[in-house]
């Protein structure tokens, strides 16, 4: 049995497969199911200074392992999270001996307001999601959270037409890790029989996730990993154990999954973990960290 636990941000995760922020971790009960399902750590859905007003419908399956969404952040208020949901999730994490991460958004002022309250709940690290690519705003945002909390912080980046590594390098002084990538959009799928949008956003647009974006995610992870020295968490299109290995080879130190869990259920973590373990055994590795950065190594780049 290969070693699957990973050390990251001063925390030990029992395996490298974590949830990505989404409805799969949308309340305390789902966080508990995520822990029971076998995730290596927990991460709660993005909380902001107010509840999101989510257009309905907000999710549509695309193919067997893809999806379009017009989700925003949590539809629960910050008070509901601070008074109840975080406690349920934290209790589940402690029971399973795994770290608990929060996700918050979005502007510098919002992060300054919500960050310390979330940290006071006892979370182990905080991820913040960035949906824009303007360098000055990126730095302001990262710095605002850095100055507001003491726990490790993770910048979740949005895919980019240029080199995502350049943007990551700009905020590296303020953050402890990166998560790459958010879903890609806008994209669109219509109901041809009724000539109607499938999603409730004003133009029917949604953001694409799952298998269709895996090659975009791998490119982004590679570009960030070759440029920065802090750890990268790979997110995007993981549907089977080999996809986890591919993210590691591109430079990831852990991964997050959302779409495949939404479509296959919370118990799919255990199947992914077992599959990764089997793959490592079959290929003669005794630790998942041995495959990390293999793609960069092949190109003669640093690991």
């Amino acid at each position: 049995m290969a070693k699957l636990s990973v050390d990251l941000l001063g925390l030990t995760f029992r395996n490298p497969i974590l949830p990505a922020a989404g409805p799969n971790v949308g309340n305390g009960r789902q966080l508990r199911l995520t822990a029971e399902g076998g995730a290596g750590g927990l991460l709660a859905k993005t909380v902001s200074v107010r509840a999101a007003e989510v257009p309905r419908p907000d999710m549509v399956r695309y193919g067997q392992t893809g999806m379009l969404n017009t989700e925003l952040w949590t539809e629960l208020s910050p008070e509901e999270w601070l008074d109840r949901e975080y406690d349920i999730g934290l209790a589940a994490a402690r029971e399973h001996g795994i770290p608990f991460l929060a996700s918050i958004g979005y502007t510098p002022d919002e992060l300054r307001s919500i960050g310390p309250k979330v940290e006071a709940k006892g979370v182990d690290a905080i991820e913040f999601s960035i949906h824009y690519l303007d360098p000055a705003r990126l730095i302001d945002t990262a710095r605002a959270l850095r100055e507001s909390v003491k726990c490790p912080i993770i910048a979740k980046l949005t895919p980019h037409k240029g080199d995502l590594g350049e943007l990551a390098a700009m905020i590296e002084p303020y953050v402890d890790a990166f998560a790459c990538i958010n879903s890609y959009g806008p994209t669109m799928r219509i109901d041809i029989d009724h000539v109607e949008p499938t999603l409730g956003s004003s133009l029917g647009y949604g953001w694409l996730s799952g298998t269709p974006i895996r090659p975009l995610a791998l490119r982004s992870v590679f570009e960030v990993a070759r440029r920065v020295s802090k750890p990268v968490i790979g997110v995007g299109g993981i549907a089977n154990p080999k996809d986890v290995i591919a993210h590691f080879m591109a430079g990831a130190s852990a991964v997050q999954v959302c779409t495949v869990i939404l479509l296959r259920g919370q118990n799919y973590y255990a199947k992914l973990v077992r599959g990764v373990s089997d793959w490592l055994d079959a290929h003669g590795y005794d630790d998942i960290n041995q495959v990390r950065g293999r793609y960069l190594e092949r190109l003669g780049l640093k690991v």
């Binding site: 309905r56 419908p57 806008p186 029917g204 269709p212 590679f222 290995i245 591919a246 591109a250 793609y295």
Partner: protein, 371 residues
């Protein structure tokens, strides 16, 4: 049998399903095979000022069952050797990628070689170079010019289209998506496509929702015709492209995966769809969605609806229960799922995930607890 013929830029296409530029339209034999296979028009493989010499294989690999990754930039045939077949009964369009300085020679050369229109691939140039090259091409030729747009130039694709609209006669949305990277973990972490960084361009079903959005967005903005390209693998996607604003649909990945008869099969399936839905002419569905939704819809942020079960269709597979994150569906194998409309968030996942199409949204008051 619905009428499928489309006229665009003065050219008559017997079906809106046409062959996009790629290895399946390289050379006279391949183009003849595509025409025989039922393509309504042919965009020949992209000609470059200097032929593209493949230095690295593999250059085209499958991505999943219905996608491709490629590093091919264009044809390996030299401009001097290009000759297009003119006796195939469908329009022949040349595709080219070149700078402003190069199009003055290359454009007229391709017209002389038999091209009835030119498709200009923007993906390899910076945006200022694209604008300059299209202006030069407009001065150099009298045939219609199609600009094939790429998201590489940014997400504001409609702004880009509007900027070049004076110099072109139609827009093609969109080029392959990229650059992207896919890693073969069983080959010790090698890229699945050869390139200095292993980068590739993605096409086929994975990029279809991206292409649909770009077609819709460009069609909302410009007055000249839009031609769709990106992941049309079945009649459903052709219909979707036409409804959101396309006049023609290019297919490239599909015939690479399935062979040249794929064009005709797609056309037959389009015909069946039109017949089944009571449309006599493909023009009846063109821009149907665009006209209805170009200004958007009212955004609903509460659950006004919930899924209603069509019991005759339900097989008791339990997928709806598995994908419900609001505890609104209890599904047990071989039984009808129990839907609680009061808990439903109206997220839509169960409706779209149901393999039997047994769920559809209805006002909440019409959805009763089952069974």
């Amino acid at each position: 049998m619905a009428n499928l013929a489309v006229e665009l830029n003065g050219l008559r296409f017997p079906t809106p399903v046409i062959a996009g530029a790629g290895p399946t339209t390289e050379g006279a034999a391949a183009m003849a095979a595509a025409a025989r296979g039922g393509a309504g028009g042919l965009v020949a493989h992209t000609v470059l000022p200097k032929p593209y010499l493949l230095t690295a294989e593999p250059s085209v690999v499958p991505y999943g069952r219905d996608g491709l990754l490629t590093n091919q930039r264009g044809s390996h045939v030299s401009p001097a050797d290009v000759a297009y077949p003119t006796d195939l009964g469908v329009p022949v369009i040349a595709s080219l990628a070149a700078t402003a300085a190069e199009v003055a020679d290359l454009g007229p050369r391709l017209v002389a070689a038999g091209a009835q229109a030119l498709e200009f691939a923007t993906v390899f140039l910076t945006w200022p170079e694209v604008v300059e090259a299209l202006q030069a091409l407009r001065r150099a030729v009298n045939v219609p010019i199609w600009a094939k747009l790429s998201l590489r130039h940014g997400e504001d694709i409609a702004d880009r289209a509007a900027q070049i609209e004076p110099f072109v006669d139609a827009f093609v949305c969109m080029s392959g998506f990229g650059p992207v990277l896919d890693i073969d973990v069983d080959a010790d972490g090698a890229s699945r496509v050869s390139d200095p960084y292993g980068y590739a361009w993605l096409s086929g079903a994975p990029i279809h929702p991206i292409a649909v959005r770009t077609v819709f967005e460009v069609a909302r903005r410009v007055t000249k015709p839009v031609i769709a390209s990106g992941g049309a693998m079945a009649a459903r996607e052709v219909v979707e492209f036409l409804q959101v604003g396309a006049s023609l649909v290019q297919v490239t990945t599909l015939p690479i995966l399935k062979g040249p008869t794929a064009y005709g099969e797609l056309t037959d399936n389009l015909n069946e769809w039109l017949d089944g839905h009571g449309y006599a002419d493909v023009a009846d569905i063109t821009q149907l969605y665009l006209k209805k939704w170009r200004h958007g819809q009212r955004v609903v942020i509460t659950s006004e609806e919930a899924p209603r079960l069509d019991e005759a269709r339900c097989t008791g597979c339990t997928i709806c229960g598995l994908v419900c994150y609001w505890d609104a569906i209890v599904a047990k194998p071989k039984a009808m799922p129990i839907i609680n409309p009061d808990r439903c968030f109206e997220c839509g996942l169960c409706v779209s995930a149901c393999p039997e199409d047994a769920l559809s949204f209805r006002p909440r008051t019409e959805v009763t607890l089952l069974p």
